[in-house]
Symmetry: C2
Subunit: 417 residues, 2 copies
C-alpha cells in the first residue's frame, strides 16, 4: 500500500503527504544543508559559507545609531510600516544605485527581507508550474531553491570568464521555445557572480539586454556584490541601460550587514503594484526598525568609505586565496580570478567527484561547496566553490593547502598526475 510506503520512507503519518499542496513535494533539504553543519565546527577551515566578514564593521557607531533611533523616533521605528518600505530609505536606496549608473524613482523601489524575498515575490508573480527560467551555469543556490519551489523548469546557459555567453542565450531561447515551453525570465548575477566569481563585460550586458528585449523575456539582475570590486569600478548596472525590461535586486547584506535583512527590488512601473501586494501577503511589511537603522547609518555615516574598506578586506583575502591556489593546488585544476565579491570557482578533471570527496576534505579539516549545488540538472560534479570572504588570510592559506593535499592524493589514486 502506498500509504505504508510513505510512512516507512519519510516518518510522517500515513497519508500526510496527500494533505500537502503539490509544490510541497519540492520542499526537501538541499544537499549542502548537512554540510554547513559540519563546516561550522571550529576545527574546520570553512571555505564553504558566504557570510560577509564583519570584523571591519563600525560596531560602536552602529550601537549609537540604533540607540539614538529608538530614543528620537522609537514610536515610528517599532510600529508597523508601509508594505512597500519606508519612503526615506527608498530615496536613499536610489542614491546607492546611482553609484552604478541607475537613475530610479523611489516609487519604483520595494524594500524586501533581503534579496531572497524579492526572488520569492518575483517567482510568485511569474512562475506557473513547468515554466522555464533561464539562469547562468552555474547559478546561485538560493535562487535555484526558490525557482524549484515554484515548480519552474530551470535551464542553464553557459558562461565563460566574461560571464554569460550571448550566443548560448540565443540558442537556449530557441531550443526551449522549440520544445513548446514558456520562458518567464533570465536570472543572472553580472558582478562577481555567485558561485563563479566572474564579471559580465559591458559589451555583453548590452547584447544580452537586446536579446531579452526583443524576445520579451524579463531580465532579473541580482547585484549583491557590485560595489565590492577590487581593482576598478564595475561596469554600469544592466538596469542603467534598460528601465522597462530589467528587474533589479539589491541588498545591504554585503555592504552594511546581513543580520538586518534589508534588500530591495527596483521594478518596472507595470510590476510595482503586484510586487507590493505579493509582499504584503507574504510579510505584511518589512521591519521599520531595521530599515530606519540603515537609513540613519546612510544619513550620518561615511558609508562609501566603509564599503571601500570592506572591499579592501576582501581583496586581501582574494589575494591570499589565489596565491595559495597557485602554490598548493595540483596541476589539472583551474580556477577563476575574481576581481571582486566573495568566490572562486574551481574546475577539476572530470574524474573527480567533489561531493564524494567531501568526507576526505573534512578529515583534512577543510570544507567547500560541491559544484552540483549550483546546478539544477546534476551537472557540476567536478567543480567546487571556494569562498574567501569570511576566514582570515592565514586560515585561507591553511585551508587551501589542506584541500590541495586532499586533491593531489585523490588525483594520484586515480592516476591523474
Amino acid at each position: 500500500m502506498s500509504g505504508d510506503i510513505t510512512r516507512i520512507h519519510t516518518g510522517v503519518p500515513q497519508h500526510l503527504d496527500e494533505r500537502f499542496a503539490h509544490r510541497a513535494a519540492m520542499m526537501k533539504p538541499s544537499e549542502i544543508r548537512s554540510l554547513f553543519a559540519v563546516a561550522s565546527r571550529p576545527d574546520i577551515v570553512s571555505l564553504a559559507g558566504g557570510m560577509p566578514n564583519l570584523t571591519a564593521f563600525p560596531m560602536e557607531m552602529m550601537a549609537g545609531v540604533v540607540e539614538k533611533l529608538l530614543l528620537e523616533n522609537g514610536q515610528e521605528a517599532l510600529q508597523y510600516g508601509s508594505g512597500q518600505g519606508h519612503p526615506k530609505l527608498r530615496t536613499q536606496i536610489c542614491d546607492v544605485m546611482a553609484l552604478e549608473g541607475i537613475h530610479a524613482h523611489p516609487d519604483d523601489v520595494i524594500v524586501t527581507t533581503g534579496s531572497q524575498q524579492a526572488l520569492d515575490l518575483i517567482s510568485r508573480i511569474f512562475i506557473d508550474p513547468g515554466d522555464v527560467v533561464l539562469v547562468e551555469a552555474p547559478s546561485y543556490v538560493g535562487a535555484l531553491g526558490t525557482f524549484h519551489q515554484y515548480e519552474a523548469q530551470v535551464v542553464h546557459v553557459a558562461m565563460d570568464n566574461d560571464g554569460l555567453i550571448p550566443q548560448a542565450l540565443r540558442e537556449a531561447i530557441t531550443s526551449t521555445r522549440a520544445a513548446g515551453r514558456k520562458i518567464k525570465f533570465l536570472y543572472l548575477i553580472p558582478n562577481y557572480q555567485n558561485p563563479a566569481g566572474v564579471l559580465l563585460t559591458a559589451e555583453r550586458r548590452t547584447e544580452i539586454l537586446e536579446i531579452c528585449r526583443s524576445e520579451a523575456i524579463f531580465v532579473i539582475e541580482d547585484n549583491p556584490y557590485g560595489l565590492l570590486g577590487f581593482e576598478r569600478p564595475s561596469p554600469n548596472a544592466m538596469r542603467a541601460e534598460d528601465s522597462e525590461n530589467v528587474i533589479y535586486l539589491g541588498t545591504f547584506s554585503k555592504t552594511i550587514a546581513p543580520g538586518l535583512r534589508v534588500g530591495w527590488a527596483l521594478v518596472p512601473q507595470s510590476l510595482k503594484e503586484k510586487m507590493v501586494i505579493a509582499s504584503e501577503s507574504s510579510i505584511l511589511c518589512p521591519s521599520n526598525f531595521t530599515q530606519l537603522a540603515i537609513s540613519s547609518y546612510l544619513s550620518d555615516q561615511p558609508w562609501r568609505d566603509q564599503i571601500a574598506s570592506f572591499a579592501q578586506l576582501y581583496k586581501v583575502r582574494r589575494d591570499a586565496m589565489l596565491e595559495s591556489l597557485e602554490k598548493y593546488f595540483p596541476k589539472g585544476a583551474t580556477w577563476t580570478k575574481p576581481e571582486g565579491g566573495f568566490y572562486v570557482w574551481v574546475t577539476l578533471p572530470p574524474e573527480i567527484d567533489t561531493k564524494a570527496l567531501m568526507p576526505k576534505a573534512i578529515v583534512g579539516k577543510v570544507a567547500y561547496v560541491p559544484g552540483t549545488a549550483f546546478y539544477a540538472d546534476g551537472f557540476g560534479s567536478w567543480s567546487m566553490r571556494l569562498s574567501y570572504c569570511y576566514p582570515s588570510p592565514e586560515k585561507i592559506r591553511e585551508g587551501v593547502k589542506a584541500l590541495g593535499g586532499v586533491l593531489a592524493t585523490e588525483m594520484q589514486l586515480r592516476g591523474l598526475n
Copy 2:
C-alpha cells in the same frame, strides 16, 4: 483586440498579463487600501487601523537593550542566522507559550517575519488552487488575502458571541465534501478575534479540536491577542490540548512591538522540515538583530508586567468605546463586548451599506473598516470593525460620537428610526 483592452484598463504594456503566473491575477489592491491612506490624515479619528499603542512601551530601556546587544554581541546580531530562527529565542518563545498552557519544544518552533509570514508558509505548504480553507465569519483580512493569493476557496463558518459554532463547522465540512472539494485546514483566532472581538469558550475549543481531528483537518490557531485579556486569563490555547493536529501562530507584535517583525509558528513535528525549507526559500533567515533584541528584552526586563500594563491601557480604551457606543449609537445597532484584544464588531440594519457610507463618515472626520473586508464572499455589508487600540480615550469618544451621528442620519434617511 484583447491586448489593447488590457492596455487601456490597466496601463500595463500589451500582453504583459500573459507573462504573469496564473495566481498573479489575484494580486489586486484590497478595498481597504485606499481607505487607510485617508484614515491616516491627522484630522480624522481613525477607528480603522489595528496598530498597537506604543505609548506605554519602555523606549529608553529598549534603546539600552539594543545598544548593549550590538556592543556585546554585534558580530552575531548583524550576521546571517539560522533559517529556523535563533535557538535562544525559540527557547524563550516556549516560556511565553507556557503562559497559555502550551508545553512545547524549541525544536518545533519556527521564527517568522510576523505571523503573516507563517500564514504565507502554511498556505504554500497546503494550498493547491481550488482547495478549501475554512475560516470564521468574519475573519482576519490579512489571512484572507494570503489564502486568496494561493487560489484557495475560502468557506466561512458562522460564529456567535462564544466564537465559532461547532455545529456550523460540522455542516460546513459535510457540505464542502459533498461538493467534492478538498478541505486543507480550519483557520481561526480563538482569543478576542479580529475583527469580531469574541472569545471562543473552553468547551467549544475541545469540541472543535475533536471535530477537526476526526475529520483529519489541521487547525491553524492564530493567537496574537491571547495575553491581552482584560478581566481574566484566556482559556488555555487549543494547542495545549492537541500537539498533533494544531499549527499554532504567535507574535510579539502586540506584546512587545510590531516594528521588529518577529512572530513564530509552533508546528507538529511532521511539518517542521517543510516549514523551515519554505521559510528559507522565502527570506533565507529571519533577522538575528531583531530576534536577539527581543531575546535580550525577555531576559532582562519584566516583560510579564509590561504586557499587563499594555492590557490595562487597552482596557481603558475598550471601556471608552463601549460607553460611547451605548451613548451615541442609534437604536438598531448592536455590537460585541470584547474581553480583550483590539476590536469591536458592529452590526447594523441590513439596509445600511457600510462601504457606501464611508465617504460620509470621512466628512464627519471618522474612519472604520467596512464589514465586507472580512469576508471572502461579499457578505458583511451591514457591519463594521471599530478598533480602540490606538487612539486616546478622548479621541475614541469623539470618533464614536461622530460616527453615531452619521449612522443616525443615514438610518433616518432610510426611515429606519
